[in-house]
């Protein structure tokens, strides 16, 4: 458990699978075999298994923590689990497979480095699998670990396994997804190829699920381009300290670096820096910092400070195209007005057109008038005021936004920026 003190970054994993593919069983197996389950938790699961009438100890009950989930035997919302091996520490977001709870899956998958996708070897790729792959592509997930599960029920047939892998590869190709696929034949129930290599798959030369999770390299230089600070808050102290606080993406940056304040376009240089409240002469990507500027320029919440190389500046614009996952009952239709939250700025927006919807079965773009709950598709928006934004392809940390319903305040969509002018 020394992982807390090592210098490796925690790996964030999101699991995805259709109902009954064995996701909860696989997670239970990972937690159990890495000795993460505490005795009292296991006791509680054994008792609950008896109460819900399971024959064996049902490891799914470890993560299905809500009463309705236990009673209905399905996962409704994301459950977060923490575990560590001597090599790495992990956060695992167990996300629901049911179409009705897709928005919960988006929450879990959007912040993950790796998507762990389960497919039942007997049934192959189903609609939910396609949806999950589509969402992973939309969200920009870089690695997919594909667990072809229940191999014990197809007598460890290599051809059943290869059929699933080929199909998933074809789908990812159609989506033009920029991801690396790591397939593994497993039995979550019996533990084959989860932590230890299985004697049942002599034809499989790859790594086990845990080996993969421990060794996948997360290349951060590929996801951050250019240093940006979206101002969350202005810290005031004494008569003249004004610290513009926020979380740095990109960088590193240092005292003396040039700053452009967007969208206004004002210029200054960094006078002082704090990192987590402590004075520093430089700051690195991901740190919670505050910047004091040399000049008295007008800066406030919602502004974006671009530090250093101005050629990597975001685009300031009002017309944007976004790929969305629609997450509320009121559909997306042309003319609808919403609020955009991009970084720390809120701005009104009107849907100027509904581009297309991805057909859930084929994932092909299909013309449509509206997007409904759980649909994936494309929208064009006109903003009431300009924002400084990047496309997600250019900058993964600043290329996203959310849409908010003006009356209910619900988060209506997760959106990836495709174009801005």
């Amino acid at each position: 458990m020394s992982a807390t003190r090592t210098t490796t970054r925690q790996l964030r994993i999101a699991t995805a699978g259709s109902v009954d593919d064995g996701k909860s069983t696989l997670i239970g197996r990972l937690l159990h075999d890495t000795k993460t389950i505490f005795e009292d938790q296991l006791d509680a699961v054994i008792k609950a298994s008896r109460r819900y009438g399971d024959q064996e100890v049902n490891l799914a009950l470890l993560t299905d923590g809500l009463r309705a989930e236990r009673e209905q035997g399905i996962t409704i919302d994301v459950a977060y689990r923490y575990f560590a091996t001597p090599r790495r520490s992990f956060v695992l977001a167990d996300t629901p497979g049911h179409a009705q709870y897709t928005r919960n899956m988006v929450t879990g998958a959007s912040v993950s480095d790796v998507s762990l996708v389960l497919v039942d070897a007997r049934h192959g790729v189903v609609e939910q699998t396609r949806r999950h792959l589509g969402i992973a592509a939309l969200l920009g997930v870089r690695h997919i670990v594909l667990a072809v599960n229940k191999m014990d029920l197809v007598t460890w047939s290599q051809s059943s396994y290869s059929a699933v892998v080929d199909e998933v590869e074809a789908i990812l190709g159609d989506l033009h997804a920029d991801v690396t696929l790591h397939p593994v034949p497993v039995s979550a129930l019996q533990g084959d190829n989860v932590v230890d290599r299985s004697p049942n798959t002599p034809w499989f030369a790859g790594a086990t699920i845990l080996d993969l999770l421990e060794s996948i390299e997360i290349d951060e230089s590929a996801v951050h381009v250019g240093a940006r600070l979206a101002v969350q808050w202005t810290i005031r102290a004494g008569s003249d300290y004004r610290g513009y606080a926020g979380r740095l993406t990109g960088g590193p940056i240092k005292v003396g670096d040039e700053v452009v304040v967007l969208p206004a376009g004002l210029r200054s240089t960094i006078r002082t820096l704090t990192v987590s409240g402590v004075a520093a002469d430089h700051a690195s990507p991901g740190e919670a910092i505050a910047i004091e500027l040399r000049d008295h320029v007008d800066v406030g919440r919602g502004d974006v400070l671009v530090v250093g190389n101005a050629t990597l500046s975001p685009v300031v614009g009002r017309e944007i195209d976004v790929d969305v996952c629609w997450m509320t009952d009121d559909p997306a239709v042309e003319g609808r007005h919403l609020v955009v939250k991009h970084l720390t700025r809120h701005v009104g927006a009107t849907i100027t057109s509904v581009g297309f919807r991805l057909d859930p079965t084929t994932l092909q773009p299909t013309p449509t008038q509206s997007l409904a709950l759980n649909d994936l598709g494309r929208l064009s928006l006109r903003l009431d005021h300009a924002i400084a934004a990047d496309t997600a392809r250019h900058n993964r940390s600043t290329g996203h936004l959310i849409l908010i319903d003006e009356t209910s305040n619900a988060t209506a969509a997760a959106a990836t920026i495709i174009a801005i002018t």
Partner: protein
């Protein structure tokens, strides 16, 4: 401050710290009147430490509030008062005793747990001060219902949590907008484990109440737990008290928070002990969560933290 996460080079702690500070700043910016819940326990000490960092060198832009069950350990209350005085913070105390006196809740008797009553006291205080956001030190590794909760947890006008209606938080983008009368709870420590908390306390040199470290104490064993004798804990005729070397893994209501046998006298000892532990923090020390599979979910639905 003895050191910092940065100089120690711990990548995991540095990220957890940055994430928590970011959430605290964002909620403070998006809400009108936030408050930070401070019990004097280790999680709320870490939370308050992070909140101070979030606005340093400026002052904390919101008050802190303690929901006092009236069954607190003296050591914890004096620690609370020292912390608040040292940083010149504004402290509000919402008292369960007061709620009982005013007839808002009924007294469960000297031996009953006051844990559940805190929800009413908390909600009354939130309404009285018109707070619209409350920061709490809850962690997802504490309990399976907490494991399901988002960074932001929305509560209706009666403070209830509806687990089926949680707001998505794609890319950790928080949407803290609420309507009048509603409020939210924010959990910046969601992704921390008990071991992370202790490691962070160690690197940052955060002071804690001394009952977290081993000491001799007169205890009684009740339903497999060691309870400190005194205050609300009175010996039954068939029970006998004895002295043990113990410490607390969590500090709460004295009537239902158990001590564990331990010789861990320093933060490093506690870290070693935590890393080797085979029983969860709540399992080892809380009498009231053992009752039902969904005890925490039920309390949250009623407005609990």
């Amino acid at each position: 401050m003895s050191g910092s996460v940065r100089s120690e080079g711990s990548r995991v702690l540095a990220e957890l710290e940055a994430e928590a500070i970011t959430i605290i700043r964002e909620v403070a910016a998006e809400t009108r009147a936030p408050v930070l819940l401070f019990s004097g326990g280790k999680d709320s000490a870490v939370l308050l430490h992070l909140a101070l960092k979030a606005f340093s060198p400026g002052r904390l832009p919101f008050p802190v509030m303690h929901v006092d069950t009236g069954h607190n350990f003296d050591e914890v209350l004096s620690y609370r008062d020292e912390f608040v005085a040292r940083h010149r913070l504004e402290l509000l105390v919402a008292s369960v005793e007061e709620s009982i006196r005013r007839g808002r809740v009924s007294d469960p008797g000297p031996t009953g747990s006051r844990n559940r009553l805190q929800s009413v006291t908390l909600l009354d205080a939130i309404a009285e001060h018109r707070f619209d956001a409350a920061f709490g030190g809850g962690r997802r590794d504490e309990d399976k219902a907490r494991a399901k909760e988002r960074m932001l947890s929305f509560r209706d006008t009666r403070g209830r949590w509806e687990p089926r209606q949680q707001r998505p938080e794609p890319w950790n983008m928080l949407n803290a907008r609420i309507r009048p009368g509603e409020h939210l709870r924010a959990f910046p420590l969601s992704n921390w484990t008990e071991l992370d908390i202790w490691s962070y306390i160690g690197v940052e040199g955060i002071p804690l109440p001394n009952i977290y470290f081993s000491h001799r104490r007169v205890v009684v064993e009740r339903s497999r737990m060691l309870l400190a004798v005194g205050g609300p804990v009175v010996l039954e005729p068939h029970e006998s008290a004895f002295e043990e070397t113990v410490r607390y893994r969590t500090v709460g209501d004295q009537s239902c928070t158990g001590a564990v046998r331990s010789h861990a006298a320093t933060v490093d000892d506690v870290i070693a002990e935590t890393a080797a532990a085979r029983i969860t923090e709540r399992g080892a020390t809380r009498a009231d969560d053992g009752i039902s599979d969904a005890a925490m979910e039920d309390r949250k639905r009623e407005g609990y933290f």
